[in-house]
Amino acid sequence: MNQNRNEIVLQTQHLTKKFGGLTAVGQMDLKVHRGEIISLIGPNGAGKTTVFNVVTGIYKPDAGNVIFNGENIQGKKPHQIVAKGIARTFQNIRLFPNMTCLENIMAGQHCRGTAGVCASIFRTFGQKQEERRIKEISENCLRQIGLEKYKDELAKNVSYGNQKMLEIGRALATHPKLLVLDEPSSGLNPRESEDLIDFLKDLVKEDLTILIIEHDMKVVMGISDWVTVMDEGRKIAEGPPDKIYSDPLVIEAYLGKEEDDMEL
């Protein structure tokens, strides 16, 4: 069924996560293919963010494992997973508020640097070079997300939309292979959403895979190559966006059973 799609980048096998008695995610199998934008959608409480947090190592799964580029990363610490190439953003923005925008981006570069304590104290040549490289890359990154004029502005003083972009920029600064975005368009006005869609589209051209959790159907339809739908911790459907849009199971999950005459 998945005709011309290239190899799998990320795969979860029977992923299960329980909080006390509640099974937030049960036997979830998710496949993400290289160079695509995959959307993970579903009603609130479907367990989307939980899958997210398990994949990025914030939560330990109760069962099942997570394969990334053929390597099982289940149980690894978040910073190790980032080093492997999965970068993420958060549902409610978690920037470093009292640090400048440039410093926020440079934080993303951290796992790519190697300077140790002695190198930093004695300012060895390699360390100076690395600092210069980090600074340049960060400035390019800022330019790429259009925030270079806020370079020395504290992150908390920048507008909400820009903070969203800054968080994506910070994730990009870790040179990821897979970018995992948690509701990137929430809180953005329509114009900002369009900019976001275009921005993400040309990101993918640079051999980057994107997995998004999203509610805004317009964004999902406009951007995704593949959609997976979750409800009550289980996958109920997956496929190209237009097929999913008309799938009765999906509509039922979203809008409940009785209303048959749902106008689209």
Binding site: F19, T49, N53, I58, F90, Q91
Partner: protein, 303 residues
């Protein structure tokens, strides 16, 4: 076998003092997340005021109501005056700093503690003061061969009653719910119509007053007070609050009692010199395996 019971009672007596102070401590600490170093000195000030009342004012009281009357009068006056001092300290040292975060509040609390401690030294002098032996009822009891004084029994019972009353007020009444709500999340509680100032007024009167009552109890039981004793008791109360779990008032009570028993075990079965080391080691072990204290619920950090 008898000795073990006796030691247990000794441990519980120390524990009940720690529990009472820890309760006053965690009322402020639970709600404001403020390490109130000055609380140890509220305790000391309470015992000094109790001492002054007993020595000077009580001649007329004890003549009418006997020894116990004098003691109760001293406790009342100490509690009321400490309630006032509590409010004064809150208004002057803590209120201006609520907005600027928790760490500056710690320094301010330290400053308040040093200020109070030295104020007591300046007023009452650096010497040890002694609760007059004649004014304190001193009756020895032999319950089944166990040596216990009436005062020790009364204090054990009184502290358990006070703990019970406060447990009821905090856990069962609506006003108690308001306090617990403010402890968990001040802003949302305020949105629910809980007036933050009345909660502050309550905790900064009951907390210090409780410290004062404990101060008079310790003064009358050990009959010797010094202006630096608040510092040790304050540290023990903070340890008990953490052991029980932050913001959890019953936890602070049990934390205090457990701390007392731990100290007893350390002193009896290891050595008196190493008992505090033993207590702190146990505390650290508890925190390694239960990062939010014995009764503190592990709230998952919502991401």
């Amino acid at each position: 076998m008898q000795v073990i019971i006796e030691q247990l009672i000794n441990g519980l007596t120390i524990g009940s003092f720690y529990a009472l102070i820890a309760l006053g401590y965690s009322m402020v600490y639970g709600v404001l997340k403020l390490i109130n170093f000055a609380h140890g000195d509220f305790f000391t000030l309470g015992s000094y005021i109790g001492y002054t009342i007993l020595v000077f004012g009580s001649a007329l009281v004890t003549s009418h109501f006997g020894l116990w009357g004098g003691l109760i009068a001293a406790t009342m006056v100490a509690a009321i005056s400490l309630a006032i001092v509590g409010i004064l300290v809150e208004r002057s040292a803590y209120r201006p700093i609520y907005a600027s975060g928790r760490l500056p509040a710690v320094v301010s609390a330290l400053g308040a503690s040093i200020l109070l401690q030295n104020a007591i030294m300046v007023i009452w002098g650096p010497r040890y003061q002694a609760y007059p032996a004649s004014l304190i009822p001193n009756i020895h009891l032999h319950l089944g061969g166990i040596h216990i004084t009436l005062l020790q029994l009364v204090i054990l019972i009184m502290s358990l009653c006070l703990l019970g009353i406060l447990y009821y007020v905090i856990q069962k009444t609506t006003f108690g719910a308001a306090i617990r709500a403010t402890a968990l999340d001040r802003d949302t509680a305020a949105l629910m119509g809980i007036n933050f100032n009345t909660v502050i007024l309550f905790i900064f009167t009951i907390g210090p007053a409780l410290g004062a009552v404990t101060g008079v109890m310790v003064g009358s039981y050990y009959r010797q007070i010094s202006f630096t004793m608040g510092w040790n008791y304050g540290l023990k109360a903070f340890t008990a609050t953490i052991l029980g779990g932050i913001g959890n008032l019953p936890g602070a009570m049990f934390g205090g009692l457990i701390l007392g028993v731990l100290e007893m075990l350390g002193c009896a079965y290891i050595s008196a010199a190493w008992k505090d080391v033993f207590v702190f080691l146990i505390l650290i072990l508890v925190l390694i395996f239960r990062p939010t204290g014995l009764f503190g619920e592990t709230i998952a950090e919502k991401v």
